[in-house]
Structure formats: C-alpha cells, structure tokens
Subunit: 342 residues, 2 copies
C-alpha cells in the first residue's frame, strides 16, 4: 500500500461515514441502517433469527497470512453459516471492531471490501456496528439476523431415532489449509527470504481463508420441501458437532467412516503431512458445512443432491455414538474439537 | 473470593451451560434462546430494532475499580439505552465475551450476576452469544434487539425547526465519578496502604459504575402520546450529541447553559476538582440520558415531567449551533466528546 491514513485522524463518526459511504440496502425489511442508535428491521409475518461471533487476532486469525479482505469476508460468513444452520435466511448484519493503531485506514478498507463482498453475495445488509480502539490486537464482533417461515426453524435437539445423518460438501480441508499456512509461516520466520510454497494447495488454503456458507442447501430444502429434523453448522470438527446433536436430541448414532466426504485435494494434502484425512474431518474445524438429520422418507430427495452425503443414522441414546471404521471396527466417537478457551 | 476455578477446565460448552443454567425467558417473542446456532424471535406486527456495542478493557473500563457485577450490568445498559433512544422496547440481548486467563469462573459469575440483574430489571432475555479466549484483556460485545410499533421509531435526523430540545435526568455526573476513581487509583498505586476516599461521592461514582437506561421516559411518551421528532442517547457528552442531531437534521439550535440539568451532588463534586459543572455536562460522557426534540405543541405535557428539562430549541441551519451562557454570552457549540479512536 502506498498510502497510510491514521484512523484516529477521522474520528469515530468520520470513520463510520467513510466505511459506509457506499452501502446500499438490499432487503425491504431493512428500514433503517447505519447512522443512528440502532437499526430498524421489519419482520412482519416471519420469525427473526439472531446469532453472533467474536473473532480475536491471535486466537481466531493470524494477520501474517490472512489477507484482510478475506478476513472481512470470513467474519461475515461464519455468522451467516449459523443463520443457515437454523434453516433461515440471513437478512442483516452488524459489525463491531476494536482497532489497534497497527491497522491503517487503507487496511480497514480492504477488510470492508471483503465484508461488502460477502454482503452482496449473500444478499445481506450491513445495518450497524460500533468502532473503537483496541490496546492490542484486532477485535471483530459480528451479529447476524435472519428470517424464517414461522416454526420452520431447525434446532439441534429435535433429531429422531432412525433419522439419516447427513452433511453437505466435504470436510477437513480448512484444517489442512491451516497446517500448510502455519508451516509456511514458520519457514518464513526462520528464513524471511524464502517465498511461500503453496503450489497445488489452493483448494485447502482457500477453504480456510475464504469459506462459503451453504445457502444452496437451505434453498434446496425449500425447493424440495424437506424439513430437516435437526441441523447445525460444522465449525469445530464433525465429531464434536455430531455429539452436540446426539446430546441435545438425547439420542445415539452410527457414523460410517467411509461415508465421510473428503475432497481429493484434501486427501492428497493430508498425506503430505502424514496425517489421516478422516482425522482432519472428524477433529479439524472451520468447514462451515451443514450437519443435519432428515427422516428416512426423504432419502430419495436427499440422495439426488450431489452436495449432500448420508454419513450415518440416529439410534437410541443407550446405543451410544459410534463410528464404524473402514476396517469394520466400532469405536465411540470422541470430541477433539477446538476448545477456544484453552 | 475463596475459590478459583479455571474457565478452561469447563470448556466452551460447559461454560455456556454453567452461565445460562438459570435463564428464564421473559418475552413471549423469545421463541428459542441460548444453546443453538442462533436464537429465534417472533416479532409479528412490530418492527425490530438492533444495536451493538463493543467494550474493551483498558479502553472502556478499568477492572481496578470496576466491580465485575457492575460491569455486567452496565454492558447491558449501554445497549438498552440505544434501543430506548429509538423509542423502542428492548426484548433480547446476545453477549459475546473474550476472556483472558486472569478471569476465573467465580469472577465471570459475578459479571453474569450483573447481566442477569439488568435483564430482569428491564424485562430483557439473554438469547445467545459466543465465548472465547482472549490473549490480553477482557472483551465484551453486546447486541440488543427491541421492538417498536410500526413507524413509531425515532431517528436523529428528523428534528424540525422550532422544536424544543429536551434532555432527561441530569448530566455530567459519570464523568466526575470517573475523575474521583482515577484519582483514588493513582493514590492507591502510589501508596497501596491508603483506603479509597469516596465519602459523599456515591452519587457520581454510582452514575459511572451502575448507570440506568431511561425506560421511564419511553413509557411516558407512550402514556402521553408524545412522538419525539428526533432522539438519541447521551453517551459522549451533550455537545457532541446535540451536534449530531443538528447535522443529521440539517438544522441549527440554541442551547441555554442555565437550563442544562446538573445534580447538586455533581456540582459540589465538580467544585472539589475545580472544574466547571457545565463543562462536565457538555463534554463528559456516559450519562445514558435521552436527548430529544418535540414539537412546541407538546410543551405542556413535557414540562409536567420533572425528569425532563427543556434546554433549548432548534433553528435554521444557517443560524448555527449556539450556547447562551449564564452571563448572556453566545458561543458556537463545539464537540469535545470522547474520541474512542484516539
């Protein structure tokens, strides 16, 4: 970047004006956006869904290898993913930022480019936020609001015995992408002259840095009149999420290792690190796929969608939560998902 | 505190369960609360208001003199105040926290005691959030959602020429409370044996540490069928907020210094610091009073409420924004409000 403008030179309101100068509201329900004490949303005849995520530098992202535009995009996506996981359609977001003096206005503009790209792609309006200084590190807090047809929202706790356990897309790629970026960071810190070698790893790195939310799956449910019996997004690894559905629905499950979808790119990349691709899918994180259960009656509809894999089924709680490995072994599923408090 | 439980021992989900074990939802519109990807809210026939605030340790609060229970209470209040400032009624909040390892579970429980006290007092439901680790400092992000009768929400930009400029309660106390606490902190750091001397300053210190939001004023508007023409809450000092209303409404104003409400306790306390109480009201912050304009037709109704002061009136934009001092001098109002980005 050739220019560097200090954010404090604009003041908070100058900054808000700068960042929101090109906002165009896309939803008729967005009655009032940025610039007042609060935004106003009209949700007549729909139910409102709200979710929030806090992303902290050094904990959730490393600015050394995260382009700010991608970070802005991803900050929105992780929240939209939670809205879709309720079988709802996101309509508005708010963004609060804590900015250290390391972040210039130009850098912040890049971040917002990503935010607006995500808003535009998913038809969501940015309607408010809060901007303040941070003594250390970049702090991002996003809240997303969505709407759902009355009583069509899908909880985690309502799976039924015998339901099919399904997941969208493929799993484990973001975790392998992280391993690559961490390796390249280490090499760079030791030998700053060496250029990063991410040749051939664009898929896994892309899945980490620029994830998408599964709007297409929610649209497919609506078109096909499928009402999932339970649903959540996969952000902390498949095992951890399956155990949430089992616990909250008071059920057990059977999961087939050979049904877990892993992309060929992820498989090859995992082998380079000499780790098992299945482990990445079970215990990695940040896939932002949808994990859900449907009635067996929906099997035909579900199996017609190439983006959905049936990976198991729900059982009585007494049967436990079991994975059947490729070799035919039976093991209890254990959560090794990311603990953000460690 | 006699016990200290590390938060990381519970894990994120154990922690959420612990913190929300006593939640009882108070609003019929809260269809689904904490524990899923998102909360679900039913707002049929109302418009939804949403606002968010980010509070960072060292920037917005100092744990050295801020009891955690008060901090929890205040974190909610600052958001509710923004909802009331829209002429709306808050119904739900979400809270996201970034926790450093300095915060024990017992400390966090104190914080939540304050959060729940505020929720209970204002009839608001805690419906979601996100909890994560922070490398440094305590991070608090609150989003509040409220409802308003269709098209009765009040913006900052719709004041009319000739309207009365009004403010609730009294101003400047929180700023003077801050001066006291900062003084006592300095003394304590220099001589740790000395006990803090806040004798007689409970009013100003209380206004800083445990502010309230002006629900009563919104209720009064509804009872009296008053529709303010513009409104915002006073968080950055009266001057700064008046200039927002003038700028956004494209008007000027006349403000009378002798009409600005300052509590007797604040006046006496300001004199101890040899500062002008009016300066505290104009340039201090964190009062969380409501600044609003009403039509002159509402003068009689407004003046019957002892908690409301008429402090001036709106003029053409060309006449500028003027304060008439007690001595009869005329000066342009300038904003010396807090810049959270400096």
């Amino acid at each position: 970047m050739s220019e560097r403008t200090e954010i404090s030179d604009l003041g908070e309101f100058g900054l808000i004006e700068h960042l929101t100068r090109n906002v165009e509201l896309q939803n008729a329900s967005s009655l009032l956006g940025v610039g007042d004490d609060a935004a106003v949303i009209d949700h007549f005849g729909k139910q409102t869904v709200v979710t929030t995520d806090l992303l902290l530098e050094g904990v959730h992202f490393d600015l050394m290898y995260t382009p700010l535009k991608h970070l802005g995009y991803k900050s929105v996506i992780v929240n939209l993913s939670d809205v879709y996981a309720m079988n709802a359609t996101p309509t508005q977001i708010t963004i609060s930022l804590g900015l250290s003096n390391r972040i210039s206005l130009e850098a912040l503009d890049e971040f917002y480019e990503g935010v607006y790209a995500a808003c535009s792609h998913y038809g969501v309006d940015l309607v408010g936020g809060d901007t303040t200084t941070s003594q250390k590190g970049f702090v991002i807090s996003v809240t997303a609001i969505g709407e759902v047809i009355p009583d069509r929202f899908v909880k985690r706790s309502t799976a039924q015995k015998g339901d099919l356990l399904c997941v969208s897309g493929d799993l484990g790629a973001a975790y392998i992408g992280l391993l690559f970026l961490e390796r390249e960071k280490k090499i760079f810190l030791e030998s700053p002259g060496v250029q990063p070698d991410l040749e051939g790893e664009t898929y896994v790195v892309g899945r980490l840095l620029k994830p998408e939310a599964r709007k297409d799956i929610i649209d497919f449910f609506a078109e096909q009149e499928i009402q999932p019996t339970s649903m959540m997004d996969v952000s902390d690894g498949l095992s951890s999420e399956i155990l949430h559905i089992c616990k909250q629905s008071n059920l057990g499950c059977v999961l087939y290792e050979d049904k877990i979808p892993v992309a060929e790119e992820s498989r090859l990349a995992a082998f380079k690190f000499e780790i098992d691709p299945t482990t990445c899918a079970l215990s990695g994180g940040e896939d932002y796929e949808l994990l859900f259960t449907v009635s067996q009656n929906d099997y035909e509809k579900i199996s017609a969608n190439a983006n959905i894999s049936v990976i198991g089924y729900m059982t009585e709680v007494g049967e436990g939560s079991t994975i059947i490995t490729k070799g035919g072994g039976r093991h209890a599923i254990t959560a090794q998902g990311w603990n953000p408090l460690k």
